[in-house]
Amino acid sequence: LEESANKLLQEGERYQLELLLSGPYDEQPCRILLTAGAGGTEANDWVADLKRMYERHAQKMGYSLQIEDEQPGEVVGYKSVEMVISASTDADGGAHPYGWFKGEKGSHRLVRLSPFNANNKRQTTFAGVDVAPILDDNDLNDIDIPEKDLEITTMRSGGAGGQNVNKVNSAVRIKHLPSGLNVKCTQERSQAMNKDLAMKRLKAQLLAIAKEQRVAEIQEIRGDQVEASWGTQIRNYVLHPYKMIKDQRTGWETSNVQSFLDGDLEDCIAELLKASAMEEQEASLQENSTI
């Protein structure tokens, strides 16, 4: 009886959380990019750990996870991993991939005794996690980027072009001049298709930034310091000399590090969602009261 009561409580909680996930792109699939920070092999190994952690967490939450690209590290692990998380076709699977994982965006700091260090010394490494929603055409039509803001380069730049040349390298890189954002797409055999995909990814990133600016606005309204979120440490994973994982934004912490690294992120993420929702609510109230 107690077991089923707990389960009901859990499901009740989960339902409440779903209500918090009502941002404009929360229901969309998301693209997650893991990048090793400085630290060489140790950082590459950290990326592998994070990859595993997200794979297992996605499975627990009923999401579908696809690895899109992997750049292996020279010794172990990865320089970078790109994955896509989408809602599973299962009826009781998770339904808000971007909404759920967007809080993972930022810098994740690991402190442990490094097996790759000659003296097995304690080392600090970072990995960057970037999360962007994958928008469908309807969402993207909201954004119009003027041609003059873009610098588009392909592998064929320079030379005669046209009928004179038959080079099939169709990679396209687009740089958005005002923001400095860079997007590259190599997956299609058609250059036009790669350009199309690169534009979509650029727009998704710009939208995410616009959303962040809203977050900054909220913090300003509240009188908090405005911080850039990419590059900011969002979570500390300390494995030595004590075991503690602490989320910097909510103060949520656990000493059950192995369980967390095995994919048990639900409580931590739930805490963040509740805190964000409260912040948004307070800010809206303050905004409205000053009108």
């Binding site: 392909t154 064929r156 005669a160 072009g161 046209g162 009928q163 038959n166 250059q191």
Partner: protein, 239 residues
């Protein structure tokens, strides 16, 4: 498997002799389509993808009857047939392999609609006399000037058809033929789009705006740059 390894080795040999990869694989992508590509037809270039998208964005007429001159693998006409509502396409080429490949690619992409929406026939621009006039004429004609031919890399020069590449001394031979035929092919107000050599837009504009050319009945509308900043496309209209 042993067969796969052998097949791969054979293909690698061919590639080492600079044979275009599209010929070796027998197919490649053009926009969102995978199309059959056969020797000695021209392997579609990215600029041609731009041409098609430009036409799609510019064409509002529906239904629209289109002519693809020098269709090759058929990609231009077939993409337009697929992306424009109520478009019917005729395509011509002087190379029999082009006609076969274009009709085959049309069936791949348009399926059962091919029967009443796409037809490629063997004909030269000089001799083509349609029973129904067109709203849009599009072409990626051979446009490389004679002298530039020897600057081409091996994979182009030794494998793709010279007929599909070289446009005579100034590269404009076929272009001129097409322009002269436009009043015979098009409805009044018909539009002609062509992919050309960067030296051509100016030559074409000067020719059409010369007072001696008034009886041609073709007006130079505009030229457009490709992704590499080269003047690659022209838009003409028929009076």
């Amino acid at each position: 498997t042993v067969e796969q390894a052998h097949d791969f080795a054979t293909k690698l040999q061919r590639r080492m002799k600079h044979e275009p990869i599209q010929y070796i694989l027998g197919q490649w992508d053009f926009l969102d389509y995978t199309v059959a590509i056969r020797s000695p037809l021209l392997c579609p270039r990215p600029e041609t993808e731009e041409l098609v998208m430009m036409i799609v964005n510019d064409t509002t007429q529906s239904p629209v009857h289109i002519l693809d001159v020098g269709c090759g693998t058929g990609v231009i006409g077939i993409s337009l047939a697929d992306m424009l509502t109520d478009a019917t396409v005729r395509a011509i080429d002087i190379e029999p392999v082009a006609i076969q490949t274009s009709n085959e690619n049309a069936k791949r992409i348009l399926g059962s609609q091919t029967e009443y929406r796409y037809q490629a026939t063997l004909a030269s621009a000089e001799n083509f006399s349609p029973d129904r006039r067109f709203d849009v004429v599009v072409s990626n004609p051979p446009y490389i000037p004679q002298l530039d031919m020897k600057t081409l890399s091996k994979d182009v020069l030794h494998f793709e058809s010279e007929q599909a590449l070289c446009g005579g001394v100034d590269g404009m031979d076929v272009i001129r033929t097409i322009i002269r035929q436009l009043p015979n092919w098009c409805n009044p107000g018909g539009i002609c789009w062509m992919e050309v050599d960067p030296t051509h837009p100016q030559l074409i504009q000067e020719w059409l705006e010369d007072s001696k050319s008034l009886d041609l009945g073709v007006k130079f509308e505009s030229s457009y740059e490709d992704l590499y900043g080269k003047e690659r496309f022209v838009k003409l209209s028929v009076q």
